[in-house]
């Protein structure tokens, strides 16, 4: 590989790249230069557009406008394969490999060295794999089976693959998310070594300290837009956080002042080994409590256990002073708990069933007087809630799949509101729905709280949590790291707690 070159033409550059998915603009005017010998950090909140950048560089997506330059020349990767052939390698958070094949076979997948007669030259393959691992300074036996290797080792195999393919541009998409501190350190050594030998690295992480440890430069994205590119040395932690989140809370969040009553939902000492620990909180009548945190911090797991679809190891959940047994969603529903789950398509709806059958699914007994389900009652139920939520549909007997995301979410909300809950848990209620529907959902949550419902709102969108919640709980790696009042909570304090820096207060 060439010697490090800090001045010349970037190995890969994005210039003013724009990308939309249907009506949603995922990237707007994003520019980014990856230089030989440099580790470049890509920072931004969930949904800021980082993954889209990775996919464009990796050839999975093509930009709508703007340029991709490789060694200063225009390129257009029409497929991941083409990007690979031009020297781009993407290391994913959890690599996908062939577990039954040996390490060397995985490293050389698709480009095995051949002997005469197109037979695979195993000896050469193992020798070269050993060389690559030596070069990386990580001892992995090329002959061993891949199954059973740690995620850290699997990532090293991906990096070895990249080296074997002569990759010069290496993208690491949240590689440390599943690694221990020691493993992460080893990965940093390897990454540094690659850069020192002339590769250009793009490093994505939610952990700011890692960026400061490893990276030379950082580009911040927010809401799909380019914010700034700085040398890591020139930007302090506070400024970086502000760049990532700094925006005002808009009219999007029609939060009403409500009278907050007595505690309805009380969770105490909820624990599940390896997932979350010692989670205690309460939600009061008329109150919206926001549950913030990064993806993977255990928020959804906690509310699933509260609702009973998941098991828990210990801890208690009480609603109106009555304890809920663990693992029994039906008891939770009967006690007045409703969960609008994270995954609308897999957990919220039966897509192939009609709107009306979806709407009645959590309330079948109420539409079945005398044990016989009446379609007229189902239809009336769906119609009532459809009207209240201004659902747009052709016919109530149409499959739920035919509706837009926002309208699908309204069915899920209607289905749960039909159970007349006293506690409403909503997990990412506005993910992937259009802006109009989003405002409607926010207004609905406000109204429900004003009517005395206790609302627990999980969202990865900080503005949503800050705009809607009376109180914010922040989770980091399975624990609640901060509890902030509406006045205390701002982007920085929540972000600090969510990235494991403890409360900023």
């Amino acid at each position: 590989m060439a010697a490090p070159d800090h001045t010349g033409v970037p190995l890969l550059e994005l210039r003013d790249v724009t990308k939309s998915f249907q009506a949603v603009r995922a990237l707007r005017g994003v520019s980014l230069a990856l230089r030989s010998g440099e580790v470049h950090a890509l920072a931004g909140e969930n949904g800021a557009g980082k993954s889209t950048v990775v996919r464009i560089i990796g050839g999975e997506h093509q930009p709508d406008s703007g340029d991709v330059l490789l060694d200063g020349e225009h390129v257009r990767f029409s497929s991941p394969r083409e990007a690979q052939q031009r020297g781009v390698a993407v290391i994913h958070q959890e690599p996908i490999q062939f577990p039954d094949l040996s390490v060397a076979e995985n490293v050389f997948m698709g480009r095995q060295p051949l002997r005469t007669g197109r037979r695979i030259d195993r000896k050469a393959m193992h020798r070269r794999a050993s060389e690559v691992f030596d070069q990386l300074g990580v001892p992995i036996d090329p002959a061993r089976q891949t199954r059973g290797l740690s995620i850290a080792d699997q990532q090293i195999i991906e990096i070895a693959k990249a080296l074997v393919a002569d990759a010069r541009i290496i993208v690491m998409d949240e590689p440390t998310a599943a690694l221990s501190a020691v493993e992460a350190e080893r990965l940093f050594r390897v990454a540094r070594g690659l850069a020192d030998r002339g590769a250009a690295l793009l490093f994505i992480s939610h952990r700011l300290d890692e960026m400061y440890t490893l990276c030379d430069r950082v580009t911040v994205l927010r809401d799909g837009a380019f914010v700034v590119t700085e040398r890591m040395a020139d930007i302090d932690n506070d400024t970086l956080v502000r760049r990532m989140v700094g925006r005002s809370v808009e009219q999007l969040f029609p939060k009403r002042d409500t009278e907050i009553g007595e505690e309805v939902l009380v969770v105490d000492g909820l624990t599940r080994a390896g997932v979350y620990r010692d989670i205690s909180f309460s939600v009061r009548r008329g109150e919206i409590v926001g549950l913030a945190g990064l993806v993977g911090s255990g928020r959804s797991e906690v509310v699933r256990a509260v609702f009973g679809v998941d098991d828990r190891d210990s801890g208690t959940v009480t609603v109106d002073g009555k304890a809920l047994p663990k693992g029994k969603p039906r008891n939770a529903i009967e006690s007045g708990v409703a969960l609008v789950p994270e995954d609308r398509r897999e957990q919220g709806l039966v897509l192939e069933l009609s709107i009306e059958r979806n709407a009645s699914l959590a309330r079948l007994r109420q539409v079945s007087p005398g044990g016989l389900t009446r379609q007229s009652r189902e239809r009336a139920l769906a119609g009532t809630w459809g009207e209240r939520l201004s659902l747009k549909f052709g016919s109530l007997s149409d499959p739920a799949a035919t509706l837009s995301g926002g309208n699908q979410q309204k069915i899920v909300l209607g289905k749960w509101l039909a159970t007349e809950p006293s506690v409403l848990i909503v997990d990412e209620p506005t993910r992937g729905i259009d802006i109009g529907a989003k405002v409607e959902v926010h207004a609905l949550l406000s109204d429900l709280a004003a009517q005395g419902m206790a609302v627990l709102l999980i969202s990865s969108e900080l503005p949503e949590v800050l705009g809607m919640a009376d109180r914010v709980l922040v989770m980091h790696e399975g624990r609640i790291t901060a509890e902030l009042s509406r006045d205390e909570a701002d982007e920085e304090s929540v972000m600090y707690a969510a990235t494991g820096n403890g409360s900023a207060a």
Partner: protein
């Protein structure tokens, strides 16, 4: 979706009528009362097994051990009768035995989470083997004349056999449960989206468990009818009948993947298959050829919806089926996108 199913059922009914018209026209003796009664009797057990299978397949599971449960229960009936037990005592015992075999299936599939296909292929062999262990190669005959007419005779003055009446009553019961109760709604929800069903408070595990027990009981009932009808309890009774029953359910428009199908469809398929078998039998078509025809019917029943869907998709790519999921993981939050569209980078760097 509903229109499509209705159409499939109309096609089946039409085919039924065709077979019966063709049979009456071409085959002397087909339309006679005695023959129609025989035709119905001949499919009693298949119908009972199909009723057991329908709800299970609706949830996306399968039970291939139905005919082996029948075989074991028949063998058990023989042994107990041979031992001098009264038939009144034997009936409840055999029904309990069916329930026990069903709950063994349920335990393996529901409690241990094993794939139903593998488990019931296993118990298909196991239960049939146990039948031989219990009874050996021989046959027990001489069942009491007090009860045999239930399985062989018609209701006086009609062509309708008693056992068909039993099937009809049970069929209506299953139809009501499947189409008009919360449990029935739950079956479809489980078949089309098990996770969502769980998140909706439907007790998926419990429902599946009960379905396998009910299946065992229905198979035990079928074994009693079978044993009385042939006046013979043998370990190999109804060998291979599970395939006919599965074929009837699938031909009836029930999706092997779960969540789609009606009792009317299955009933039409049963009638069609029974009629066809009878016509062919009267025309001296051998059993082997009949098997070929049954096999073809099964393949056609699975193929038709797929082909129909393909044809429709080609005609109007957008209108059919479930739209492709949008690339959600890659989408940024639209809230963010809009909220920040006002804030340009320059503003931010003030």
């Amino acid at each position: 979706m509903r229109e499509k199913l209705l159409r499939w059922e109309s096609i089946l009914l039409l085919l039924c009528i065709l077979v019966f018209v063709w049979g009456s026209a071409s085959t002397p003796g087909f339309a006679e009362t005695d023959n129609v009664s025989f035709l119905l009797l001949d499919y009693t057990e298949v119908a009972l097994l199909a009723l057991a299978l329908l709800p299970i397949i609706l949830t996306g599971e399968i039970d291939l051990s139905v005919a082996s449960v029948l075989g074991f229960c028949s063998a058990l009936t023989g042994v107990l009768w041979d031992a001098g037990m009264s038939f009144e005592t034997i009936v409840p015992l055999v029904l309990v035995a069916g329930a026990v075999l069903g709950s063994l299936n349920a335990t393996l599939i529901v409690r241990f989470g094993l794939p139903a296909l593998a488990v019931t292929i296993g118990t298909l062999g196991l239960y049939r083997g146990l039948a031989y262990v219990v009874l050996g190669d021989g046959a027990v005959t001489g069942f009491p004349d007090t009860y045999r007419p239930i399985a062989t005779d018609t209701i006086p003055g009609t062509f309708l056999p008693y056992s068909t009446l039993v099937v009809l009553v049970l069929g209506i019961l299953v139809a009501v449960v499947v189409h008009y109760t919360p449990i029935g709604r739950s079956l479809y929800a489980i078949g089309l989206g098990e996770q969502t069903a769980r998140f909706s408070g439907i007790r998926v595990q419990r429902i599946k468990f009960v379905l396998y027990i009910v299946s065992g009981i229905l198979c035990a009932l079928a074994s009693l009818v079978y044993t009385l009808r042939y006046n013979s309890a043998r370990a190999d009774n109804a060998n291979g009948l599970e395939l006919i029953a599965v074929a009837a359910v699938l031909l009836g428009g029930v999706s092997i993947f779960g969540g789609k199908g009606t009792v009317v469809g299955v009933a039409s398929a049963l009638l069609l298959m029974a009629g066809l078998r009878n016509v062919l039998f009267l025309n001296d078509v051998t059993n082997e050829i009949q098997n070929v025809i049954n096999g073809l019917l099964l393949i056609i029943s699975v193929l038709v919806p797929v082909v129909a869907n393909l044809v429709r998709r080609r005609r109007s790519p957008a209108a059919v089926g479930i739209p492709e999921p949008p690339p959600q993981e890659t989408l940024p939050d639209p809230v963010g996108a809009t909220a920040a569209s006002h804030a340009t980078p320059e503003e931010d760097q003030r």
